[in-house]
Homo-oligomer: 186 residues x 6
């Protein structure tokens, strides 16, 4: 076993116990070796689960005006529609992007983008739902991130200084841990 | 043509000229219709190109301590290695994730993650190089985003309040626009 | 919300009501904004579902003869076998190709190709089955289309004039809408 | 060698020569065995290449009216924009869908969809360009097919009787065979 | 039907019966034609299933020493961690790699790699679990193969003579056929 | 930098020098930290490169007879054709499967499978060619492995005891290291 080889080479039984104290909380690493492990969900019940994530990309005044003009004049909002589709597609590839993420059959992926003049940003909010045995926060976060990256791609000829900010899970329902809402770190 | 249908339905020649003023800068939308378009790079010369992006994910003190412990005791740093590999793999799938992005043969993808105690965060910096006809900033940004998402996935059992911040391109070399470095929006 | 931004910019409450009349039938667009939306299937029951699609690619006499010869002499029918495998694989990637399509676990994908001398064509018929919460007509259509595209690829050195025709769903079982069979538009 | 096994089992030297007459034209099958083979392009020169494909999906009057309404009232044309993005993305995955297709770096993918009242259809025309060693007709056809499949997906709640028609390559430039335009089979 | 065409061209009713005797056991080929077919699992019950596979890659003494040194000194074991992640990701793509394999939602993928001094090899053992309607031996084998290929990739600058050996399923639980353990062919 | 963090935590300058002696040969790990790194190929010349790999899967007498019967009677060899196509497709996804592998435009992928009665096995030999800046041995090995896995999948209802053996690169041409042929480890 790799675990054994590593432990032997470290010869470090003392520190191990304290590490385990932590590692038992970090579900994606093996308690003994700290190695990455997928969590088994085979015996977990399938329940309705839902997660919401959000984030934003801050644009220069010029880039914001261009997006707004594209929006108002043609009312087609294409840059945002392309970003929305990219986000939806990305949610479906989450388990291929995030190594220890389980594949899941998603029942809903709802990606919404809006221009926010106050912050000169495009804001994205994503809701994902499933009936499955693990949560869908990674899918919501991945969709949000890729939608924002797509906005960057479409505007980068005008503004290379854009910054993506505040990408986080804001709400979660279902599953063992029950309902949950984001609050800042203490 | 869809373009014509749309314009006719809008009957809005006046606003069109001002829109075009902007749209000619927004390379991914058609000047006339505002529709999303891929930019042709068929006749652009292949030159050496390089881009760097960075970003960070802010953790609670507890989650940070767990990552640090995993690092120090086993020196395996697996959470970070998994994130690094995820970032590298994501860079290669950029054109599948970002709709109007051209496929590119990447010559180098270098994703580095480090624990930053001062900000209680995992910081990620990615360098991508190619010999090709378009830049690689989207690849560098995508790798960075997915590496940070992977850190979220691995730590989410301890801390759901993590926030991804300041994801941006910091440097670019090669191509028509020459060398470039990030500076804040004025 | 983007919806609100768009509606405001249109200032067009009158036309909205008539649009909604239609949009409520077009399940993939938001009733209020006309924006693309994925339909939620999280609470739909999992039932046995089945769909059949078909289509054909019309070949020149020469290309048809070559395919037939390959068939008769070696009895390997490789061009058709390659197309069959391509169709099966494509069915599994449907949700990655069609943006608002839900991922589904397919229980059966049966792609059959046959030479049809009367029409100088390769005819393809695909059956897909699942136990799931949405129908599988997109999977059957996608498999059929990709199988025919593969025939094009294999014969294009002899005949570039091939045309794909009559690709459609011919039958559907299961789900809320019950059994259904194709009939021409009135 | 499989070739030998097969030939032996057929014991059919006579028919072989005539088959070869054909097979030498069918570049994707081995001359001797009729087996599927990828064509080597390693030593072919990289030249500018371009291909155009088109096709259409015929809708019921009702479905056509819904698409048109979505188009005219919101001027967002989302169903068509989603189909356009799906087509662009599909072009990039062509070599993964079509087994004997070479991967290629595409320089341009331009997918255009338009409502055609005369034929009650959505018409799609795709242009693909590359600087590479093989043609891009498969990419143009694949983008067109997937764009039309996406229209089917978005309208199928109103009309299951839609039929995809006349999907074909209409024009090709560059490469050894030079410029070419579609004409009907004689 | 292709089946009929083929049979007719073979004119070989006599041999057919004996072939069918076999083919009925080979579940992935059509009984009549020998053509490849996906097995339908739509009506099979979803049960807990588990499979284990293993294999090894034999290294030169020099390459083994390098891997061991990387292991012992930094205790990071990166070559093995990268291979482990590659194996986990590959398990999730099994149905895209193996044409007649059904997609499955995997509940656990556990890939372990260890240095084996006695055989100068890296040994890999993979366990996969699902609650589904077909077995997971292909997923376990695919993960094992790709993990070993990754070791080859990382060590090939030192040793091109590496050989992958003894890749096989060693254990299977669940499903109609019940528990099973590998034993050599008689 | 992670490198620094790790080194500091190990406090192990002495052992570092010996590790570096090795690591400089192992091109996919950072010399200082042992961390996985992609090798930069941006400035390497594009030359013609070619690699051959082979391997085999050993079957029970019964499974071998079934495959042979399928081969001889229908002369369709479908199990082998499916495996061949799977191998070709897998070669194109190599850089997605092997984390530190560069994407490459492959000019030729030739996968051949043959029944070998002497060893009761299916033997696979793959040739891959490219004009590129890195070698193609990983593509040849991946195609071979996936072709053999596909044989396993198609025969597993008859024989679960199959074993894959001797998968290795046998020949390599082009690139800095020149021509090379496999020989056993000394």
């Amino acid at each position: 076993m790799l675990a054994r080889v590593l432990r032997r080479s470290l010869g470090d039984a003392g520190s191990r116990s304290s590490r385990c104290g932590y590692a038992s909380k970090m579900t994606h690493t093996d308690e003994e070796t700290g190695e990455a492990r997928m969590v088994s969900v085979t015996t977990k019940a399938e329940t309705h689960r839902r997660a919401q994530a959000q984030g934003r990309i801050v644009l220069s005044k010029e880039a914001f005006a261009v997006l707004e003009a594209n929006e108002l004049h043609t009312a087609k909002g294409n840059a945002l529609v392309v970003a929305q589709i990219a986000g939806i597609q990305a949610a479906k590839t989450t388990s291929q992007l995030i190594p220890l993420c389980h594949p899941l059959m998603l029942g809903l992926i709802d990606v919404r983008l809006a221009l926010n003049k106050a912050t000169s940003s495009v804001d994205c909010k994503t809701t994902v739902e499933t009936k499955g045995s693990t949560g869908v926060e990674m899918e919501a976060l991945t969709a949000t991130s890729v939608a924002l990256l797509t906005v960057y791609d479409m505007c980068k000829a005008i503004d290379k200084h854009m910054v993506m900010q505040d990408i986080r899970v804001i709400e979660k329902q279902g599953g063992k841990s029950g309902d949950w809402q984001w609050a800042p770190h203490q």
